[in-house]
């Protein structure tokens, strides 16, 4: 069980949070204009990286805010957390 540093509340146990999949996938503004393939790309295609991955997490049993986490999936080391809408750290 790892510890996540919620950008709103601070460090809390992982059990207070829920993972929400890959980060920075933006819902298309004009879905009707997309082909089936383009829509499928948005809808289904997700990366599953062994290593550093950008993820969405929500502090379900806390402030209920969504935010982004940079996590190394091979050892669960969290490299960074940042709020929704903020730019991901470059390194």
């Amino acid at each position: 069980m790892f510890i996540i540093n919620c950008p709103y509340c601070g460090e809390r146990e992982q059990s207070e949070f829920k993972a929400g999949g890959e980060a920075h996938i933006i819902r298309p503004k004009q879905p009707t204009e997309l082909s089936d393939d383009q829509w499928a790309e948005y809808l289904f295609m997700r990366k599953n990286i062994k290593g550093v991955q950008f993820e969405r997490w929500v502090h379900t049993h806390g402030c209920r805010k969504w935010f982004n986490v940079v996590r190394d999936t091979s050892n669960d080391v969290i490299k960074a957390v940042y709020k929704m809408g903020e730019k991901p750290p470059t390194k």
Binding site: M1, F2, I3, E13, K18, G20, I26, R27, Q30, P31, T32, L34, D36, W39, A40, L43, R56, V58, T60, R64, K65, W66, N75, D76, M84, G85
Partner: protein
């Protein structure tokens, strides 16, 4: 006939406190401080069990938690019975009853022992190879395998003991209270760190505490005396918490550890009442110091498993700590200096040593010289090639080793003995370290794996780090602690240490024999009966990965996880396969380090606390009125209210009829309720529901369907516009939490520009739903001030009102198709409003109904239940609910998916009504639907999702999903059941009141 092998008083044993216990039905005596193993040994009992596969007689091998053989069943046939308890760990108490397991009828005469003679036909993988085919025979094989194998018996009645969980946060956690752990804990605590020190044993000080030899000194004191002073000091330190009998089970990432604190297992049974038995500690430590020590390795030679063969260090511990001799004619067999420590300890206690057999040829160490001074014969450069004695070792044969250690030579020498101590050097206990994600490196010089890369803020010190001698430990620890704790100095700088231990070792993983390997039984994993022969066979058969060899031979897969023999298995594999040890890697050590009881794992979450449940504010009334309950999500919902011995069917038929004929009342408080406010609330609803919301007038209600982005139905419910920028949304009972989560997700991440606020108010309101032709008469009595005329209060509208002083929201909405009202009041008034409605409804025979009747009534109307008639593969179009999907709206969640190539297929499963040929045949929910029974294979078209006998229509009705069902209206289909086929006709899913006349009746 039984001997007393208690040799000399030990300060760890209280000889004034005699304890009686039973082993296999016979009463024996021991002393307070004894383990079951030491007490048995004191009574000259070595044979305690039978091995798993060959049922060979097995004895006590170790003096700790690594014990593979001496596992017993406690208190057989009682509620406290427990299998697989290590005799070497359990402390004796008055009334202890233990018995051997894995033998029948008795440990002395065991029928399974025949497997030992059959062993040439029971090689590695035997079970896999033999019993896998033909599959249909498995049931028969399993019966025999289970009868003759199996480790102990599970209890059959609930556990009477109390267990609990506790969270602990500390600055420094020290695992292991041997000399290294004591030094670390004292240093950390004295420097202001909040420190926790854990040890699995009942005493502190590890193996140093019973080392009473002049050969090991610290600051000119015998090491045990020096350590005792340290222990007395640490007990006084305030910010240091010490827990003994506490075994760390798991070491997870981010320094999260689980430990089991054993609180009562050592107490007499009558002193355990109302006390917590085990406590699971959930520890989050800023820093972890591993001081878990090391385990002595056995030596692998033919017949190395007989009762009376123990680890040399165990013999020393039994003599020094428990004052027990393991035998009267002892032989030690070693490849390193450790056995000489044992020899000197035994000699000091007056225990006879016949000889020492040492693999090493040229050895020069003070310990050996001292041993020889005492006229103990040492065979240098020799190895044991065989042992005899069925239930107790009685003789060993030794031969000289060749220079390369691959062969034996010369003539055989026999030595008579009743106990053989073996020492193959030491293996650092790195199990927990690797669990935490730590990486090991292999040290060639003494063939050990030691910690290399730490994944978190932790260090390993002492012998678990490969520092085996007193000199190494005491010279390395001060600097390690200073670095790790970031402190300037410790109390242990430049200590004067004297140790006569020489580190030389002659490591031979599999000792040679004068016999062919096929004729020998050199055990590598004692508990699972895996021999070196099995490992070699696995390699010959092509297995290369250590993980595969492990599974094929079952090496290391017992309750002891092969703590003793795993290194030898690796060594034999690498030698046979010609690969290097370090490159082979190790198998994974999985939690728990030692087995945990189920009680420890579940803690207080038993009985009604197993899974928490929610009650509505009206719950007590339902209980009082004999409702049967159904679990819906976490809720307990009234299911039906049986009257005068009715069964469920009868009760539901009565309730359903009453609701349509006169009046019914339902507790709908569990429906999810989300308060939605903000200037963009209408726009928000437009985006999350399939239908349009902007034009909904204040005071009006509307049914909405919510999809996932993939177009599949996710939830449904009625939302009411309370004000310009204020709505209240209802969700399904089970979906309340996830719907709120989903809405918040979109609001925060996709549409942060919207001015919308969401609040879950499910628990804030109680909802009383009154339906039926007389509902209006009843609610107007309860709320006399409100104008219930159809003009003022039409269907799908809402009014604020008051019942006395109690504010309420009344919605005229219907899930039954009847004229119906829902009264929402602050939760704590729920029961009184419910009772008022019951009172007012008396003259109309108002009938409380539960979820089952609700389901029946809505099915008559063809209303779906999300999660019952849908399963995350149904679009609104599949549900024939095209009417609710707005064509005008540019976008809503899931819209684009409704015309993907897959979702527009005509032959998707679609929701239809099903009417049986015989109106009394009620279909089974989940039953398959087919068209042609003669086609092979029979094509499954779909399945029944809801099915009831309708008392109002006097016939069986059902909903189901059928491939292409939309275009099959009137077509005949078949429901094949076990003993018959039921013919059905595809029908409109709305069975009753298609014109919705009853809503305004």
């Amino acid at each position: 006939m039984t001997k007393n092998l208690r040799v000399k008083t030990s300060k760890f044993i209280d000889e004034t406190y005699k304890v009686s216990f039973k082993f296999n039905g016979t009463t024996y005596y021991g002393y307070k401080g004894d383990t079951l193993a030491s007490a048995l040994l004191a009574n000259d009992i070595h044979l305690v069990g039978r091995s798993f596969k060959y049922h060979r007689p097995r004895g006590i091998m170790t003096a700790g938690s690594e014990e593979p053989n001496a596992i017993v069943q406690l208190h057989n046939n009682t509620s406290r019975t427990e299998p697989n308890v290590r005799a070497t760990e359990i402390e004796i108490y008055e009334g202890l009853e233990a018995s051997s397991q894995n033998c029948w009828p008795s440990v002395n005469f065991d029928i399974g022992g025949i497997n030992n003679f059959l062993s040439p036909v029971l090689p590695a993988g035997f079970y896999y190879k033999t019993f896998m085919w033909p599959a249909s025979f498995w049931e028969k094989y399993e019966y025999f395998i289970r009868k003759s194998a199996g480790l102990g018996k599970s209890p059959t009645v609930p556990d009477p003991d109390i267990y609990e969980h506790k969270y602990i946060h500390c600055d420094v956690l020290v695992v292991g209270a041997g000399i290294s752990g004591i030094i670390a804990a004292k240093t950390a605590a004295k420097n202001g760190f909040k420190t926790l020190l854990l040890d699995e044993k009942s005493y502190l000080g590890g193996s140093t505490i019973y080392q009473n030899s002049e050969n090991f000194k610290i600051s000119n004191q015998i090491s045990s005396s020096w350590l005792e002073k340290e222990i007395n000091e640490i007990k006084k330190i305030e910010n240091l918490e010490i827990k003994t009998r506490t075994s760390v089970a798991a070491f997870h990432g981010y320094n999260f550890l689980l430990a089991r604190e054993n609180l009562t297992d050592h107490l007499p049974l009558d002193q355990r009442k109302n006390k917590t038995r085990h406590r699971l500690l959930k520890i989050r430590a800023k820093k972890v110091i591993m001081a878990t020590g090391s385990l002595e390795r056995p030596l692998i030679f033919d017949n190395n498993d007989r009762p009376g063969i123990l680890l040399s260090s165990a013999i020393e511990k039994y003599a020094n700590l428990f004052g027990v001799a393991c035998g009267e004619r002892n032989v030690l067999f070693t490849n390193n200096d450790s056995a000489y420590e044992t020899a000197i300890s035994l000699f000091q206690k007056g225990i006879n040593i016949e000889a020492i057999v040492d693999n090493r040829e040229e050895i020069d160490s003070k310990l050996i010289k001292e041993t020889e001074k005492n006229n103990i014969k040492v065979y240098k450069g020799y190895t044991v090639v065989d042992t005899t004695g069925y239930k107790r070792i009685n003789k060993i044969s030794i031969m000289q080793l060749s220079k390369d250690g691959q062969k034996v030579m010369g003539s055989k020498v026999s030595i008579t003995c009743d106990c053989l101590g073996i020492s193959g050097g030491w293996t650092p206990a790195v199990h927990l370290f690797t669990q935490s994600g730590g990486k090991l490196k292999f040290r060639d010089e003494d063939q050990v794996f030691i910690p290399d890369k730490y994944p978190s803020d932790q260090i390993s010190i002492g012998s678990c780090n490969g520092d085996f001698t007193l000199n190494e430990i005491l010279s390395s620890i001060p600097n390690k602690l200073k670095d790790f704790l970031n402190i300037k100095k410790t109390d242990y700088e430049n200590l004067e240490v004297y140790s006569s231990f020489n580190k030389s070792k002659r490591n031979i993983w599999l000792l040679p024999s004068d016999k062919l390997i096929g004729k020998t039984k050199p055990f590598v994993d004692y508990q699972n009966d895996a021999t070196a022969k099995d490992i070699k066979l696995a390699l010959r058969e092509g297995f290369r990965s250590i993980e595969h060899v492990k599974r094929y031979t079952t090496t290391g897969m017992g309750t002891d996880q092969g703590k003793l023999g795993n290194m030898h298995a690796l060594g034999i594999i690498s030698e046979t396969a010609g690969s290097k040890m370090g490159e082979l890697g190790t198998t994974t050590f999985r939690p728990p380090y030692t087995p945990l009881t189920f009680g420890t794992i579940v803690g207080r979450n038993v009985g009604e606390y197993f899974d928490i449940f929610r009650k509505t504010p009206i719950h007590d009334w339902h209980v009082k009125n004999k409702a049967k309950f159904e679990n819906v999500g976490q809720w307990k919902r009234a299911w039906y209210y049986p009257k005068d011995g009715e069964d469920m069917h009868e009760a539901v038929q009565r309730e359903s009829k009453a609701a349509r004929d006169s009046a019914g009342i339902l507790d709908a408080s569990t429906l999810g309720k989300i308060d939605i406010q903000g200037t963009d609330a209408s726009e928000f609803l437009n985006r999350v529901y399939t239908n349009a919301w902007s034009k909904l007038a204040i005071g009006k209600c509307r049914y909405g369907l919510m999809l996932n982005e993939d177009g599949m139905v996710y939830d449904d419910g009625v939302t009411t516009r309370l004000d310009e920028n204020h709505y209240i949304m209802t969700t399904t009972t089970g979906g309340a939490a996830t719907v709120l989560g989903k809405l918040e997700d979109y609001l925060q991440t996709e549409w942060p520009e919207l001015d919308v606020y969401l609040t879950s108010v499910t628990d804030h309101y109680a909802t009383v739903s009154v339906c039926g032709p007389n509902s209006k008469k009843i609610v107007s009595q309860v709320i006399p001030d409100l104008d219930f005329s159809d003009e003022n209060f039409p269907h799908m509208s809402f009014k604020n009102a008051k019942i006395g002083k109690i504010k309420c929201r009344v919605m005229r909405i219907s899930f039954t198709g009847e004229h119906s009202y829902e009264i929402n009041v602050q939760a704590n008034y729920g029961k009184s409003v419910w009772e008022k409605c019951i009172e007012a409804g008396k003259e109309f025979n108002i009938t409380p109904y539960g979820t089952e009747t609700m389901h029946l009534l809505r099915a008559e109307k063809g209303f779906i239940i999300v999660g019952q008639d849908t399963d995350a593969t149904m679009t609104p179009i599949d549900l024939q609910m095209d009417w609710i999907v707005s064509k005008k709206k540019y976008d809503f969640i899931g819209k684009r998916s409704l015309y993907r190539s897959d979702t527009i297929k005509e032959d998707r499963k679609q929701l239809v009504g099903l009417l049986t040929e015989n109106p009394d045949d009620v279909l089974e929910e989940g039953a398959q639907i087919v068209a042609d029974m003669n086609k092979s294979p029979v094509e499954m078209l779909g399945h029944v999702t809801s099915s009831y006998y309708s008392p109002n229509l006097k016939k069986s009705i059902a909903l189901g999903v059928v491939r292409g069902g939309k275009n099959m209206m009137g077509q005949k289909l078949i429901i094949p059941m076990e003993n018959k086929q039921i013919n059905v006709t595809v029908a409109d899913p709305v069975f009753l009141d298609k014109e919705n006349k009853r809503l305004n009746a």
